[in-house]
């Protein structure tokens, strides 16, 4: 709702904010809690431009500079659940296996089954953990195969954060290869697979639909 406030409404609301406090929220709803002015808690109607001496309600300070395409592209490498941002490149399970052995096994263990503490296993489809019974049994081990909902974001994570000490050092094809290896080791794709953007987008993780939105709302009762 808040983001749907029209700019005209913002100006109107801001016009009531020209008190010395400037961020004063004078709305009736806000005054319902007399102990502490509600304006101190939220900024939904706070207009920085209405601060005394500022450019005036609804205006901008126009600080900062326009972000060029290249500046944005430098950091904008995220790959979301749909994988629409996946870059060119490709890598096979076999290539990923070799890369894993040389770059990853020292921390995550041979075959991804667990390495130097505190690194937990990446790989494992222990039958006792199938069925997503993690709340019932605290001993079950979470792995990529049984507790990772989107294959595309495995690519995102490896690319942005791994290897731990040299993040950003992998080519996109190497990231595809490592993604392929880890998915194959977790019995999600076949050992003969080569992944590129289209192939990775098509991978469906086994327990994707077990991740649900937060239903806690406050108030009495435990959820």
């Amino acid at each position: 709702m808040r983001r749907h406030l029209s700019s005209a409404a913002l100006v109107l609301l801001a016009a009531g904010c020209n008190s010395p406090a400037a961020d004063g929220d004078q709305s009736p709803a806000a005054s319902a809690a007399p102990a502490v002015p509600a304006a101190l808690a939220t900024f939904e109607r706070y207009d920085a431009a209405a601060v005394p001496g500022g450019p005036g309600p609804g205006k901008r300070y126009a600080l900062g500079t326009a972000a060029s395409t290249s500046v944005i592209a430098r950091w904008n490498t995220d790959v979301g659940a749909q994988g629409t941002e996946l870059p060119p490149g490709k890598g096979s399970v076999g290539e990923g296996s070799a890369l894993y052995t040389s770059l990853c096994a020292s921390c995550h263990g041979v075959g991804g089954v667990g390495g130097i503490a505190p690194n937990p296993p990446l790989v494992g489809r222990d039958s006792s953990a199938e069925g997503f019974r993690f709340a019932r049994d605290p001993q079950l081990t979470k792995t990529i195969g049984n507790y990772w909902p989107y294959a595309t974001t495995l690519f995102d994570y490896i690319k942005r954060a791994m290897p731990l000490a040299t993040p950003g050092s992998l080519t996109d094809s190497q990231v595809y290869a490592l993604t392929a290896y880890l998915l194959a080791a977790n019995q999600v794709i076949a050992d003969t697979t080569t992944l590129d953007a289209d192939a990775l987008r098509a991978v469906r993780m086994p327990y994707r639909d077990r991740f649900v939105r937060d239903d806690r709302t406050g108030g009495p009762g435990v959820r």
Partner: protein, 469 residues
């Protein structure tokens, strides 16, 4: 008398897949051995008797590396901190207070202040690269956490960033993709707000496996409360012209894992801030220098440090930190995702392990309460394990999404007692028992441990953690 325990309680983070499981790490705690403590360094003796050395031997026998200094102040429960090997400041040399301090010239002024030599509260660093350290809640008073004692949690170390060259880029579904220097942001109208930040893994180990030798620091020290200064994110949203169709934004850090979390745009308009200062000075590196995203009342990790990029979009990105970790398994074989809000919670910080109450009579049972949904409305204290509850006094007016201190005066007559606290927030949420949480969420629940906890006081005055409510 206080004996600081650096027991590796491991309420840091459990993370599923990659190198972050420091709950089982032992953070090379204290160099000073238990046997040294029993000898009472400096030959100073505790004014209240002998229970201290018994307690020290007890903790030593439990295999807990502990540090202890002995107070020379008669009757004063002076907090004494053990110092971890990894702490930034070395433990001060044992101080000898002159017989008549006023008979000689005192120390000169100094460029940066120091704590009294006998006062040495310390975090307990766990994990070298992906690590955490907890605030020493049992040694702090009031509600403001000193900046150097604010808990830490990071996923790929603390980056060394230059505020002069650091940039915050905002792009995606905006009218004007913009790049802000730190100076640009400091030139906008600034606001200061006091908020807690709590790690959603706070208290994991004592929740899963309660042990009597658990300090308040180990039980709940991954919450801290400070004054933050910066700009409302709403101000930046207006500067860039966030489009109406934007419903989520991605926040990204400049640390080595380039941590990312998805945030509903509504939170950005409501009370989110981009902060550059804490408790009156620029952010410390471990707290996000030079820029941090502050999302009041929400789980610690999403208060993204070293903020370098915000991208506006229409759906969550499903990053590793909102899928494979920081999700909460539920009975029904699902996992709760985007469990942002911190539930109502409280903890008694004094008395607490390893205190030994040396004197019968009146004393405050005091602690902290907080809720991510707003103000704390009520804190009740029980001295009989929950058979009866009594309203505690809230110190000052509770602020939304901030720690409030409570106290209940207790006249201890030497009986066995079980001290508990129970918070209620302004939405009416009441802090549950551990049993109630497990009944609803299952024994494998993995974050958001807001169960009622407390302290068992023995007739000899020894205080032990009690987590099995």
């Amino acid at each position: 008398m206080r004996v600081e325990s650096n027991a590796p309680q491991g309420d840091g983070h459990h993370e599923g897949h990659n190198g972050d499981r420091e709950d089982n790490l032992h953070g090379a705690p204290n160099d000073r051995s238990a046997s040294e403590h029993a000898v009472a360094p400096d030959g100073l003796t505790d004014a209240r008797g002998t229970s201290v050395s018994r307690r020290v031997l007890l903790t030593g026998a439990a295999g807990v590396a502990a540090g202890a200094l002995v107070s020379v102040l008669p009757g004063a429960a002076v907090g004494q901190g053990g110092t971890s090997a990894g702490a930034s400041t070395p433990p001060p040399a044992p101080s000898r207070v002159p017989a008549d301090p006023g008979s000689m010239l005192g120390a000169p002024t100094s460029a940066q202040g120091m704590r009294a030599a006998a006062v040495n509260p310390a975090r307990v660093p766990v994990g070298a690269v992906s690590g955490s350290s907890r605030s020493p809640l049992g040694e702090l008073t009031g509600t403001i956490t000193p900046s150097d004692l604010h808990f830490e949690r990071h996923h790929a170390g603390v980056p060394a960033l230059d505020a002069a060259t650091h940039r915050l880029v905002i792009h995606g579904l905006v009218d004007r993709p913009m790049e802000f220097s730190v100076d640009d942001i400091r030139r906008l109208p600034q606001v200061s707000r006091t908020y807690f930040i709590e790690c959603s893994g706070n208290g994991r180990a004592p929740f899963k496996s309660p042990k009597p030798e658990t300090t308040a620091q180990a039980a709940a020290g991954m919450t801290s409360n400070t004054e933050w200064t910066g700009v409302p994110l709403a101000t930046l949203f207006r500067e860039v012209g966030v489009k109406r169709e934007a419903s989520w934004f991605l926040a990204e850090g400049a640390d080595a894992c380039h941590m990312t979390r998805s945030v509903p745009v509504e939170k950005g308009w409501e009370d989110a801030m981009v902060v550059w200062a804490q408790n009156g000075e620029p952010l410390r590196p471990a707290q996000g220098y030079p820029l941090r995203l502050l999302l009041p009342g929400w789980e610690g990790n999403i208060n993204l440090k070293w903020l370098r990029r915000l991208e506006l979009g229409t759906q969550p990105w499903m990053t590793r930190w909102e899928t494979s970790v920081y999700t909460d398994p539920l009975l029904g074989d699902t996992a709760r995702q985007f469990s942002f809000v911190i539930d109502a919670k409280s903890v008694i910080t004094s008395p607490s392990f390893p205190d030994v109450i040396g004197t019968r009579g009146w004393r405050p049972v005091t602690g902290l309460a907080w809720s991510g949904r707003g103000r704390i409305a009520r804190v009740e204290v029980s001295t009989d394990g929950g058979a009866s509850w009594h309203d505690a006094e809230l110190s000052g007016t509770p602020q939304p999404k901030a720690h409030v201190r409570f106290q209940y005066m207790w006249n201890w007559r030497g009986e066995e007692a079980l001290l508990l606290s129970r918070a209620t927030d302004e939405t009416g949420q009441v802090q549950p028992t551990r049993t109630a949480l497990i009944d609803v969420r299952g024994p494998g629940t993995d974050y958001h441990f807001n169960a009622i906890v407390g302290w068992r006081v023995q007739p000899d005055g020894a205080v032990f953690y009690h987590g099995t409510t």
